[in-house]
């Protein structure tokens, strides 16, 4: 709470990405989460390839993102692909083309920490995606799904409420459309001319900001360990163009000083080093909190749809009666 009070007045901090607002959001979420019941603990689905499809370069980094899950899966042998849908031209202070290029470069560096070495950028115009044609975007995603044939998809929750970001809304809907349609040969039959085959992704993990009302209610908690958190934290800090804000650390320390307080772990660090440390702590706090809520050390929570969930009348039957060949 202290962090919130201190930094909400920090005029220098970026209003959207400022740590103060993120802490406020997180506090609001955790108050609600405190009364929630434990979620079932999820296991990693069998498979070889995961695909994260996200609107923005940094959507995997937030505490409701995919960093911990992806790190754990790539540790277990999964190959990871990240699809960045927008061009992120608005994220940063140095003009659109600069932001586009720097944010993409930092995204590649960031996801390397969580074991992903392939980033595909679709470069739709950032923050203007309400007007992006749904089916054009869907067609691109279907093509990529058929090309890479992921066993697991990760995306923002298309059923989440109150996500004001037009890019999140459009991309999550397009992912839901592509996930539904990529398995049908009569959809984009031209892809088959390239030797590609229809592919239904068997598992999908949806996430969304946990503080946006009851729109997104997770159904599974996935454990990760301290090394996954560390890598997730490093991935976040790698987005320097938007998260490396020394002035935020400076104002936090100024406020603390006025109250006769200080954080010993930050003593001797420059403002730049201090803000990196604070961002990393933030990842630990959130992972610990989700973990504690669900009887684990560290966790992320998702709405997972598993292999047969799209056939609710047959889910149980197929699960119980399928045998090895």
């Amino acid at each position: 709470m202290r962090g919130y009070e201190l930094t909400i007045y920090d005029k220098a901090a970026r209003p959207v990405w400022g740590i103060g607002l993120r802490l406020a959001a997180f506090c609001a979420f955790t108050c609600l989460a405190g009364i929630a019941q434990r979620l079932p603990v999820g296991t990693i689905p069998p498979g070889n390839r995961l695909m994260i499809i996200e609107a923005h370069h940094d959507d995997h980094t937030w505490q409701w993102g995919f960093g911990g899950l992806a790190a754990r899966m790539t540790d277990q042998g999964y190959e990871g692909i990240l699809v960045r849908v927008s061009n992120d031209e608005k994220d940063g202070d140095d003009g659109y083309p600069h932001n586009d290029m720097v944010n993409l470069r930092e995204c590649k560096a960031a996801v390397a920490h969580i074991g992903i070495d392939s980033v595909i950028s679709l470069n739709w115009r950032n923050d203007y995606m309400d007007s992006t044609p749904l089916q054009e975007l869907r067609a691109q995603l279907i093509l990529l799904i058929r090309k890479y044939r992921p066993d697991v998809l990760m995306a923002y929750d298309p059923w989440g409420h109150y996500d004001r970001n037009p890019d999140h809304r459009k991309v999550s809907r397009a992912v839901a459309e592509a996930y539904w349609m990529a398995g049908y040969a009569n959809v984009h039959p031209e892809h088959l001319r390239l030797g590609l085959k229809p592919h239904r992704v068997p598992h999908i993990y949806f996430t969304q900001r946990g503080d946006y009302g009851k729109g997104h209610e997770p159904n599974v908690a996935v454990a990760h360990d301290a090394s996954h958190v560390r890598r997730k934290a490093n991935a976040m800090v790698a987005h320097r163009n938007i998260y490396h804000q020394p002035q935020t650390a400076r104002s936090i320390r100024d406020e603390l000083r006025k109250q006769g307080l200080h954080v010993p772990e930050l003593d001797g660090l420059s403002d730049g080093e201090a803000i990196d440390q604070i961002e990393k702590w933030y990842m630990y706090w959130s992972s610990e909190r989700y973990g504690r809520e669900n009887g684990l050390d560290y966790a992320e929570v998702f709405y997972q749809r598993a292999e047969w969930d799209h056939r609710p009348g047959l889910t149980e039957y197929v699960k119980n009666n399928a045998v090895s060949q």
């Binding site: 059923w159 969930d309 197929v318 009666n321 060949q325």
Partner: protein
């Protein structure tokens, strides 16, 4: 006493609403009309077929508007052949349930995200004014995690159409050709059980549709036969399950041989389970779940006091 007064007020208000908006040849006729809007051939059968059959068994007249042509859901068939077969099969299925007519609007399946919502609404509005239903079944656009998004788009358009059909400033040309405004008193939102929160009331306000489970034991067999009539879609389902299992070195003994018998058995398992899911924690053994907006839904709560 208070309740009785409320019911009387409700009846009077609804009667006057119907007098204002519903004075048409169809509404004047004695037969209760049930209009069902569905995105695809299977959804309304799986989610609401038993309830609809029960109403039609009881003497209501049924009309089905199927918005897409289902041209994607097949195995090894062209879109054209898929659409042709499924149209025929969906008409057979509707006949089993007791429908009088089926209108297929012919939108390509899976493409409704690119269709103007207003266009879709006005297509549906046309049929509401034409048939003047007493009961309307529509896909629930608020049901979360419904994978077939055509159902979501159709649900949104149909909900909008029901309202717009009652207001004369929507589609004035329809009035010119004799399609007058119409208020549909009863509305059922249907969806298969994807949404884990489907049984939670949205709010306690009287005008908000409430969860409701209905017994379908008496029409279960009809529902099953209607679902089995959708041979192209069912074959596709069986092949997709088999294909996925084989690609991961598994098999389902039932589907070792995919033929009419095994596919029909798969459908039977599906229909039984869906009825069981809907009946869970209710007094019924086989049921369907809805969000239901009855006559009170049209009357703001302040008038019910």
């Amino acid at each position: 006493m208070n309740f009785l007064k409320q019911r009387m007020t409700t009846t009077l208000l609804v009667a006057s609403l119907l007098l204002v908006f519903g004075s048409s040849p169809a509404a004047a006729a004695d037969k209760k009309v049930v209009l069902v809007i569905t995105a695809d051939a299977s959804d309304y059968i799986l989610a609401a077929g038993g309830t609809i059959a029960k109403m039609l068994d009881a003497g209501a007249e049924g009309y089905l508007v199927r918005v897409t042509n289902d041209d994607k859901d097949s195995w090894d068939l062209t879109p054209e052949e898929t659409a042709r077969r499924t149209r025929e099969e969906s008409e057979q299925a509707a006949k089993i349930l007791g429908f009088k007519e089926v209108e297929s609007l012919g939108y390509r399946a899976g493409e409704l995200g690119g269709v103007s919502p207003t266009e879709l609404r006005d297509r549906i509005l046309f049929y509401i004014r034409l048939y003047k239903p007493a009961v309307l079944f529509i896909p629930n656009p608020y049901a979360e995690y419904v994978e077939v998004l055509d159902r979501f788009y159709v649900g949104q358009a149909a909900e909008d159409a029901r309202r717009a059909a009652s207001l004369s400033n929507y589609q004035p040309p329809f009035a010119v050709v004799g399609l007058e405004t119409h208020v549909t008193p009863e509305l059922y939102y249907y969806a298969q059980p994807f949404d884990p929160r489907r049984r939670e009331a949205e709010s306690t306000a009287t005008f908000v549709p409430q969860p409701k489970a209905l017994d379908i034991a008496s029409t279960f067999d009809k529902k099953l036969r209607a679902a089995q009539a959708l041979k192209t879609i069912n074959h596709s389902t069986a092949m997709r399950i088999k294909d996925r299992l084989e690609s991961t070195d598994r098999r389902l003994p039932l589907l070792d041989e995919i033929n009419e018998e095994s596919v029909n058995r798969l459908v039977e398992i599906n229909i039984h389970k869906l009825a069981e899911i809907a009946a869970k924690d209710t007094e019924h053994s086989q049921a369907e779940e809805f969000h239901y907006a009855g006559v009170e839904y049209q009357i703001p709560s302040k008038y019910l006091q």
